[in-house]
């Protein structure tokens, strides 16, 4: 009862190949999960940020487009409706009762209504929105210049960042995090195109795109542009926020500097 040697050899070869393939794949996965490997890869984010800041300076403007370039379909990503009792209550009368709280390391904490914001220095811009997923859409945005708001509240010397707290919870995690938040530094906050948008394509910002107020940060990716903003704090570091990385998506592995 001897089997032909060829069959055995073939079966052995198949097994060896499957084993080698499996080992290679699991080795890859183990490397990709290692903390040390990931923190090494993270150094590239610092290089990107430094080189881009050097090339762009504080003032270089993102490209602006004409009315005819505006996308017919502008996709909404992340939360498209916070749908909490509190938010629904505010949305009912077109956010007449909504207030934006500005606090943290500022000389003059403020609480502003949508009407207050609409009376402040504004900017309108037609810009391209680049999602981290890879797609792009062009939209027209009108909003309060963030620099004007900061001049009003007067940021204290120790402050380095602005934190944006939002009305939406993307995913309620066991550690209590999951509320959307984002942060930007004061260089980006003072950029002329950085606005708190209340209008999109000449109409009040739709719920899917972050009503009543969303951030526009034109030189970075979409996930930096917090929607459904409820509160803005000037802060020194990220230690008191979420899991400490400076944003909802940053806490989940995405880069804080999203210029690429």
């Amino acid at each position: 009862m001897t089997k032909p040697a060829g069959v055995d050899r073939r079966r052995w070869l198949q097994r060896a190949l499957a084993l080698a393939g499996g080992l290679a794949l699991s080795a890859c996965d183990r490397i990709a999960q290692s903390d040390r490997v990931n923190s090494t890869l993270d150094v590239a984010e610092g290089w990107t940020q430094h080189v881009q800041r050097l090339l762009l300076g504080r003032q270089a403007l993102a490209r602006e487009y004409s009315e005819s370039d505006i996308s017919e379909e502008f996709r909404a990503n992340g939360t498209t409706n916070p749908d909490t009792d509190e938010y629904n209550h505010l949305a009912q009368d077109h956010f007449a009762k909504w207030r934006l709280t500005v606090g943290g390391l500022v000389q003059r904490p403020l609480s502003l209504s949508l009407a207050d914001l609409r009376r402040m220095p504004a900017r309108t811009q037609i810009t391209r929105h680049d999602c981290v997923e890879g797609w792009s859409c062009i939209g027209k945005w009108t909003g309060t210049r963030l620099s004007a708001l900061l001049n009003l509240v007067q940021v204290k010397p120790g402050a380095k960042y602005l934190a944006f707290y939002c009305a939406d919870t993307l995913e309620l995690a066991l550690d209590g995090t999951g509320q959307y938040y984002e942060s930007i530094d004061l260089i980006d906050a003072m950029h002329p195109q950085t606005i708190l948008a209340y209008d999109m394509n000449d109409r009040p910002l739709p719920v899917a795109h972050g009503a009543p107020l969303r951030l526009r940060l034109e030189r970075q990716l979409g996930y930096k542009m917090a929607k459904y903003i409820m509160r803005i704090d000037a802060i020194e570091n990220f230690s008191g926020l979420g899991r400490g990385k400076g944003g909802y998506w940053e806490d989940r592995g995405y880069q804080w500097y999203a210029g690429i």
């Binding site: 590239a44 993102a62 487009y65 690429i260």
Partner: protein, 245 residues
């Protein structure tokens, strides 16, 4: 310039690849492999390509898979599970390595005369390009003195990859950056828009994969041992030309 070592049986070892070429070759190979795998991970987040500045979702140029959810299988992506954040982390780290490595090679190759001596085809080679194509199709590779230098098809392919495809993939990648776009509007214009640049990035990557397959097939056909020895140790062994001996 040429260092030859006589070996047994009339073979001659020629010092073909200096250390810097061997090192940059392997860093480039590793970077390209990881960039390709992490690039497919990133593409999985929105597996559709468009032409122009924006994504007209109703009119994509190419849709992979169903267009929703991962289109490329786990074994070809890095990491091997769906994770856009990690894919980006790998991609941008090796993009830096790829660019710095490429610059190092380019500066060396342009200043040392390597381009002129090893990659620019001679007049005679250009004239006999037809015969070279014919010989290649018959899988006949040069021996003896002829094997000292790259043949004309090799030279033209390497030039196209080094100074065409590799810069193109770096530039089309950089064009997608919303940060750099604020400074480099002209690049976006050259590619015909950000989404066009994304499409060009993918097509260039695909072309590089085809080059890689041919490159590896050529190494296997020409003698994997000799070829690997030369790109690892620098020494390329020439067998005596049978037609001469």
């Amino acid at each position: 310039m040429t260092l030859d070592r006589a070996l047994a049986g009339g073979r001659v070892a020629v010092y073909r690849h200096p250390l810097i070429v061997r090192i940059t070759h392997w860093i480039n190979a590793l970077s390209l492999l990881l960039l390709l795998m992490s690039g497919l991970q990133i593409l999985n987040a929105h597996p559709a390509l468009y032409w122009g500045e924006t994504s007209r979702f109703s009119r994509p140029l190419i849709v992979f898979g169903s267009g929703d959810g991962p289109a490329f299988p786990a074994w070809i992506t890095l990491p091997g599970w769906q994770d856009l954040a990690s894919g980006r982390r790998w991609h941008f780290f090796f993009a830096w390595l790829f660019v710095v490595n490429g610059f190092t090679y380019a500066v060396y190759a342009l200043t040392s005369g390597r381009i002129r001596w090893t990659l620019l085809p001679s007049g005679a080679q250009i004239r006999h390009i037809g015969r070279s194509v014919f010989e290649h199709l018959r899988l006949r590779f040069p021996h003896g003195e002829e094997a000292r230098q790259y043949n004309v098809l090799q030279k033209l392919t390497y030039l196209a990859v080094l100074f065409g495809l590799l810069p193109l993939i770096a530039l089309s990648g950089l064009t997608m950056s919303p940060g750099l776009d604020a400074r480099l509007h002209f690049l976006t214009a050259v590619f015909g828009g950000r989404q066009s640049a994304r499409t060009v990035h993918f097509i260039t990557a695909t072309t590089l994969v085809m080059f890689l397959l041919i490159h590896i097939a050529a190494v296997l056909a020409a003698g994997p041992l000799t070829e690997m020895r030369s790109i690892v140790t620098g020494w390329f062994v020439i067998k005596p030309d049978r037609r001469e001996s």
